[in-house]
């Protein structure tokens, strides 16, 4: 064997190249794993977007959430515009209000109805600014509703010329998502609603997390009489219907603000977290590593904080991310039965439940708040799932 047959390999080609990675802290590691999960990143961006939408969105709208314009009630985001004359465009609303609009869909003013001829089914409108009259014949609309075939639905007569054709179906430029029953900008209200829902849910969930985890782990860990008494208290709180607390709190505090609703949510919701953590603790405290910790004399507090809570973190995080949606839901439910935040403030729940009453006529008033709720829920859920996988110490490798 000749040594000329051998050459030195470059160090990069060495097979036993010792793998050196920078050592990562626990949270760096969590972040590294979270980044790999596409769904979680989608969720995270969704959460960031909705927070930006709720916090900064209203700055870009010319209206405030309480600005009413009674001329423009229930205007949808998409409007059918008729051209009556050169430079004169109108939109006829669902409840027969005639609105003057510009060529590209901005609302200008409302026509006053000056004559109502119910027998011939003709309404006459006039614009206050110039007093010129527009006659609307809606006889065919009535026939169409009965299922008859009609050549056109509405006929407008303005300055002698008749219009029956829709000029264009355009989007509402003034109110992008339309207006509600009091002529308030729906987009602005959805933004404010998201803000209020986020505050209520976020504050309630974080407080619940702390109370629930401490209470549940103590109860489960010490067991015996302590557990019995603590769980009886939980049972008592949990067995009384939420509605009763809310009504009582509203009456006692005499206030329909955010604080009361958050307080009501806290009264009830920490209980679920406490039960979950207790259940987890019961299982974990008998595991070998807890026994090992005990034998070397680790204090009870350290066993709970170092061994039990980190190992129960998966279900706790899942439960936390479900708690935010569920707080939003409960708040929406309270709004639905008329116990939500007081007007003119509105949460997404209030908006959706207002919209639900009008779903047959103005479906857009339900759809937009409901979609925003859905967006919020999806984001939190995806993020929570990703976090669950990322936070689990048993998944750590290398």
């Amino acid at each position: 064997m000749n040594k000329d047959n051998f050459t030195f390999v470059d160090s990069s080609e060495k097979l036993d190249n010792e793998q050196i990675r920078p050592s990562l802290t626990y949270w760096q590691d969590v972040w590294r794993r979270l980044k790999k999960n596409k769904l979680a990143i989608m969720g995270l961006s969704g959460v960031v977007l909705i927070v930006l939408f709720a916090v900064f969105g209203p700055l870009f709208r010319p209206f405030s959430y309480s600005d009413q314009d009674l001329r423009f009630k229930n205007i949808p985001p998409k409007i059918d515009v008729y051209q009556l004359a050169e430079d004169r465009y109108v939109y006829l609303s669902q409840d027969y209000h005639l609105i003057a609009v510009t060529e590209n869909g901005e609302l200008i003013d409302k026509y006053e109805r000056i004559k109502t001829d119910a027998i011939n089914r003709v309404y006459t409108y006039a614009l206050e600014a110039d007093g010129q009259e527009v006659a609307l014949d809606f006889g065919n609309k009535v026939k169409a509703n009965k299922g008859e075939d009609v050549p056109y639905v509405f006929k407008f007569t303005f300055a002698g010329s008749e219009t029956t054709e829709i000029f264009d179906k355009m989007s509402n430029k003034t109110y992008v998502l339309g207006t509600d029953a009091l002529g308030r900008d729906l987009l602005t209200r959805v933004m404010f609603g998201a803000r209020i829902s986020l505050i209520v849910a976020g504050v309630a969930a974080v407080i619940n997390l702390f109370i629930g985890v401490i209470y549940g782990s103590v109860s489960g860990f010490f067991g015996g009489t302590v557990d019995l008494i603590m769980m009886r208290i939980v049972d008592i709180i949990n067995s009384i219907p939420l509605l009763l607390y809310v009504i009582l709190l509203l009456v006692v505090l005499d206030d329909r603000g955010l604080g009361t609703i958050i307080l009501a949510l806290i009264t009830v919701y920490w209980v679920g977290m406490a039960r979950l953590v207790r259940g987890q603790t019961l299982g974990i405290k008998n595991q070998e590593y807890v026994l090992a910790a005990r034998t070397i004399g680790v204090s009870n507090i350290n066993i709970i904080t170092r061994h039990i809570i980190p190992n129960a973190l998966g279900p706790i995080i899942v439960s936390l991310t479900m708690m935010i949606p569920s707080a939003v839901f409960t708040e929406a439910f309270l709004s639905f039965i008329g116990l939500g935040v007081s007007a003119p403030q509105a949460s997404l729940g209030t908006l959706a439940s207002d919209g639900a009453q009008l779903i047959r006529v103005f479906p857009y008033q339900l759809i937009w708040p409901a979609l925003t709720i859905a967006w919020m829920m999806l984001s939190f859920n995806f993020l929570g799932d990703g976090l669950r996988d990322a936070l689990d110490p048993r998944l750590r490798k290398g």
């Binding site: 067991g223 049972d235 008592i236 509605l243 979950l276 039965i337 339900l366 709720i373």
Partner: protein, 305 residues
Amino acid sequence: MVYYIKKLAASLVTLLIIITIVFFMLRAIPGGPFSREKPLPEATRERLEAAYGLDKSNFEQYVVYMQNLAKGDLGPSFKNPAYKVQDLIKLGMPQTAKVGGIAVVFIISFGIVLGVISALKSNTGVDYLVMVIATLGVTVPSFVVGSLFILLAQNVDFIPVGGIESPIAFVGPVVALSGYSLAFVSRLTRSSMLEVLRQDYIRTARANGISEFKVIFKHALKNGLIPVVTYIGPMIAALLTGSFVVERIFVINGIGEYFTASVQNRDYTLTIGITIFYASFYIFMVFIVDILYSFIDPRIKVGDR
């Protein structure tokens, strides 16, 4: 055995405390059953209150109420004096329980199966699909689902708009009622199964050549179901005793509807009656869950607590 009897006794004490708390809570709310927007004449109101014993002190009323309760009498409803509270509960219960029962069966059978499938196929297309479906369930509030369903029913002939007279009419209420819990159960099952499947004993079981079916259903599922059982117990109590929202939207004359109305009308006896009913049912379910715990996971030993 002694343990369970102790547990049962503790449950009864809990119930007693709840009744007491609710009784005094309701009387702390200003306004009574006979205060209206247009006030009744003073004399009439006094006689009505005397007839129902409302002129006595709270404590005396409480004693009388508890005595009647011991005989199984929940007293007359203030708003419908012709009915006893227990009769109203009997009237409302069947409708509520029918819808709730179907929802419970639906949730447990689908939720757990979906969760297990998703955990076994974790991070595959199947997993994502199941989780997206499950997530959709928690994204839309039940009153929105209900309203959309009513909108659908108005345009389709074969689905009735309200009530639960025909089998097809159950679809709307059951879907609206179970969406959230179904999603929760499947996600909880998934997350807890994932935990369990990583444990050493599962690897040992697999290494011993036990069939995959047995590993999952006999070894993994038993431990994986512990958090799920914790949730399902109270959930059953909640679903069977009614949802205010779903009953209101679908015009079901169930307990939830009675309860909301009773709180708004300050119909004390009816509110307390329904609360007692709800609470006893709930406590019973928690009791059952506790017993189930020790069956599913022998590590949670009765004596340890």
